[in-house]
Symmetry: D2
Subunit: 320 residues, 4 copies
């Protein structure tokens, strides 16, 4: 059993990372294990920017967005030399295992560190995009989806007032999960995702017909992976002749106080991951499959591509 | 295959009932089936207060709390004569199947109607308490949990400012699910649920010790099934000598615009339930088990008692 | 005393327009005066798209964003012929006075209609920009400022996590009011408004110094009237070498359920404006000066330029 | 000119107290004046629980509810001996002036301290009740009104679903301001305030008539100063025979992230109060009259009774 572990957040922040780190810290202390917090991701690790954590270190953070540990880009860690240096620092500090919370880029880095240096690594999927293979859920995705739906509600007000079309570009380079879930929940008329082809001419014909019949508002959600919402909105406006506005939500999708779903699942994952790491397990990522917590092979998680639940695609068609 | 169905909401309203009814209506129309909306629950049914629905009948409702169909108590329906009358009205209207969205009381009524009159019935669990057997999820429970957590955040502000203890009574007569999920997510110090005994003396001793050490706020969430939050808060205030305030959240827990989770799951359940009813299935309730949609025997759903996931009890201890 | 009036919303919608229209309708009915609602602004007026309103016509709308009456652009109304036609329609309908809710463009149109045709006109300032001369307040400005501050809170989370600078472009072509009020309330480090010059080099030097000392986040609010937030953000990123992200909030600023301030002030203005119009007054706009409702000459309101309270400029410096 | 001042929060906390304290601190530092923060109100003062503040001491607090300085009851300060002791501590610390943020009870205490010991005192009205004489505004009142309106929106959902009457008890022992402003903004059917008599029989008759005509929801807002919402709700339910539910909002009204209005006005008041105290002024409270910042004699502020704007009473009648 490990006696000292460290928790680190890396890559883009997501709401719920604090809840996960809090659960890791409190579980470790509950088990009598020393736990370090590393500031600013791998960059902080290479700068030995870390501190030993007490229970109070994670008080009053479960409701905060972002990550109190900080995160940063770190090119040096992408080199074998950088990872060797990171390993030496962990050894020097007496840290026997590393718990990493981040997206697939960050998990990939952790996997290399483990493969090269043999230090135990357990990962948690922290990204709003919900695009990590092997888990139905990633920390922050529910809060981000709710943030987008709140924006859709606001945009619907002004769209209806003006009989406009509004095109909303949301995050999701490789995955349309956010666009699909927020679009269905926001009652969007169309949802464009990278996983599915679409016929812009057909969409524009249909929009023209429905507005001619008196329809007063349409929300079209576009995942950034499909292309620029601005460009697509321009085409739709030109083809339909209907007043069309574009909204690129950007980084507000990453922030905000985490939802119950994110606080709870992040807390549950944090506990399980801490227990696993302490028990000596390594090279795994914890996530949810069919509502149950599962451990996924770290290598599989970072090499496979997650696909979108076809139920969503069908549901979007029926409900719109 | 059925040619005409009706959708009804009954019992206490919950956020997401509108999303579910919307999915039922649009799925039926998509399948070319006539669909009626019955107003004000079984009372409206006995008064023939119903209307045929079009796709626009459910526009602009997915974001609304409550139920646009309305709901009401109906003692007459609790009698065999009342249910016979209800059946005759459905037959007269050419309605071949009934889709009911409500809590277990409402589902029990539907089960009797089906058993006595043989009309196809499919149910959806609509209650914020998440206490329907056979499903991990009920429509409205996620929104209610988020509403409670928002209240906890506000109460934490004023608790910290005054070094107070705040006792929050939340809904849940038979089930501690809401209290547990909201309590863990809100970082509550103690969570009292009907499924578990508690030692108020031990709690008060512990609170005294922690406040003596400088702790500035404690949130104690009490499920109404445990007893009156007011009474429990009074005891805690007296035993600890610490300034203790009580908040009984009441009906605000039932309202509010549904969360993404509730909109999405309600929509998915609505589609599946409509398809099942149209295909002639009966005496089933649709819900989620381990993240997947499942159908539960209606009789089992209304006779068995749901228990609370022990993971929550353990997690609450470790994190508080 | 007039016996029949009409209410119309025009130009960009703003939260609280519904509250104002509701107050106009209920005040007129309370006074025994017939009141019409005109759909889709001047366009609807020219299409005779209007209906007589009852008290229930404005039920359940005070909490809605946008305008239930709708609004639209109308080039025809910008011509004397168009305005003559509008006048003839009003006369035909027996409408003796027009109450217009809109921004200064819309008020300008109303002023011409009144000048050319002599029909009584009373205006209310409905715009989130708070840029109408003669009034400290315009309907929707408080809700928009709160929407921006909520966005700043979300962006602050992710800015702190990454030690980033975030540049937020907000609405306000001629006026920096929204940027200034939201920036001060959001604790923004810099606020760029059209009313004031700024030294980007000095700002960048200062940012470099503060980040070198460990500052972790900066929010820079830019009113669109100053220039493109994207362009300014690019310059700041290049000059400082600090990771800088841009957020263009766009139309979400126009939507959302109105705040108490907007509901209350819009209701108070609606009552006063309706009473004034009914009593035969014309060519005035109602607004707030120093917390009191005042009437402003319509011609003055649309010809003078409002300036920004210098207190805000000073306060922003001291508090940042 | 004073060289060292202290800021203290006392009595019930209210959202925006942090924004005010932040403005006091930053203004003092901007003027080159030393500024102390006193923890836990007069109790902390008597315990010498205070610290010198830097600009960073008030970073990241403008968006927080409650008061980071803390507040507490302090019987000892209510005695001349206690106030003498407080004065001696201030002198010992070299503190030449005290800036107090609190309700009228707290201001009264400060006024006595000043009268007995001659130390300069400047006050700011911090209370959600908006019941301090001489100012149209108190810090926290706008946020509390918005919190109540959000609750009304949630309660309206479930009231409409069930055709219920809902009685909401809100804060305000002496003043009906909160009830009136939130009630008008929430579209309440009736608003009961201590400043005005009411006829419960007439209200019940009217409710019966309207429900008989098909009305589906009524919200009745009751200021606690009028009496128990629970008792009044019971009477209404009995007299009308309509299903009536009661909601006692309680302490959630005190918490929450402050609104733009509260952040901005608290910041403006904080600056002005700090400048006045530093310049040697004393025995004044800063507030708003007709939208302008004014200074009120401290003795007048704590001895006179504020009345409710009759416009609100009239408006409530016309709009409901």
């Amino acid at each position: 059993m490990l006696k000292s572990i460290a928790v680190i957040t890396s890559g883009g922040d997501s709401p719920g990372m604090n809840a996960a780190a809090r659960a890791v810290v409190r579980t470790a202390l509950y088990e009598g294990v020393k736990v370090w917090g590393i500031n600013d991701g791998y960059k902080g690790l290479l700068e030995e920017n870390m501190f030993e954590m007490k229970s109070q270190s994670v008080s009053d953070i479960i409701q905060r967005g972002g990550t109190f540990l900080g995160t940063a880009r770190c090119p040096e860690f992408e080199t074998p030399e950088g990872r060797k240096k990171a390993y030496d620092i962990l050894v020097k500090k007496g840290i026997q295992g590393l718990l990493i919370i981040g997206g697939d880029g960050s998990l990939r880095g952790a996997q290399k560190l483990s493969a090269e240096q043999g230090i135990p690594i357990v990962g948690l999927p922290g990204t709003i995009d919900n695009d990590v293979w092997g888990t139905d859920y990633t920390i922050g995705s529910d809060t981000a989806a709710n943030t987008i739906v709140e924006a859709i509600n606001k945009l619907r007000d002004t769209a209806s007032a003006h009989s406009r079309i509004i095109v909303i570009e949301v995050m999701g380079r490789k995955s349309g999960w956010l666009a699909m879930v927020a679009g269905i929940s926001g009652g969007a008329e169309y949802i464009l995702v990278p996983e599915e082809t679409y016929d812009l001419d057909a969409i524009c014909d249909n929009l023209r017909t429905r507005y001619a019949r008196g329809k007063r508002s349409s929300i079209i959600v576009v995942a950034e992976g499909v292309g620029s919402g601005t460009a697509i909105g321009k085409i739709i406006g030109d083809k339909t002749g209907i007043d069309t506005r574009i909204s690129v939500l950007g980084h507000i999708q990453r922030g905000g106080s985490p939802s119950v779903e994110d606080r709870l699942k992040a807390s549950r994952l944090g506990e399980k991951a801490a227990l696993a790491l302490i028990s000596g397990l390594s090279n795994i990522v914890f996530g949810f499959q069919k509502g149950k917590i599962v451990s996924i092979d770290l290598h599989d998680a970072v090499t496979n591509i997650k696909s979108l639940d076809p139920d969503y695609l069908r549901l979007a068609k029926i409900l719109s």
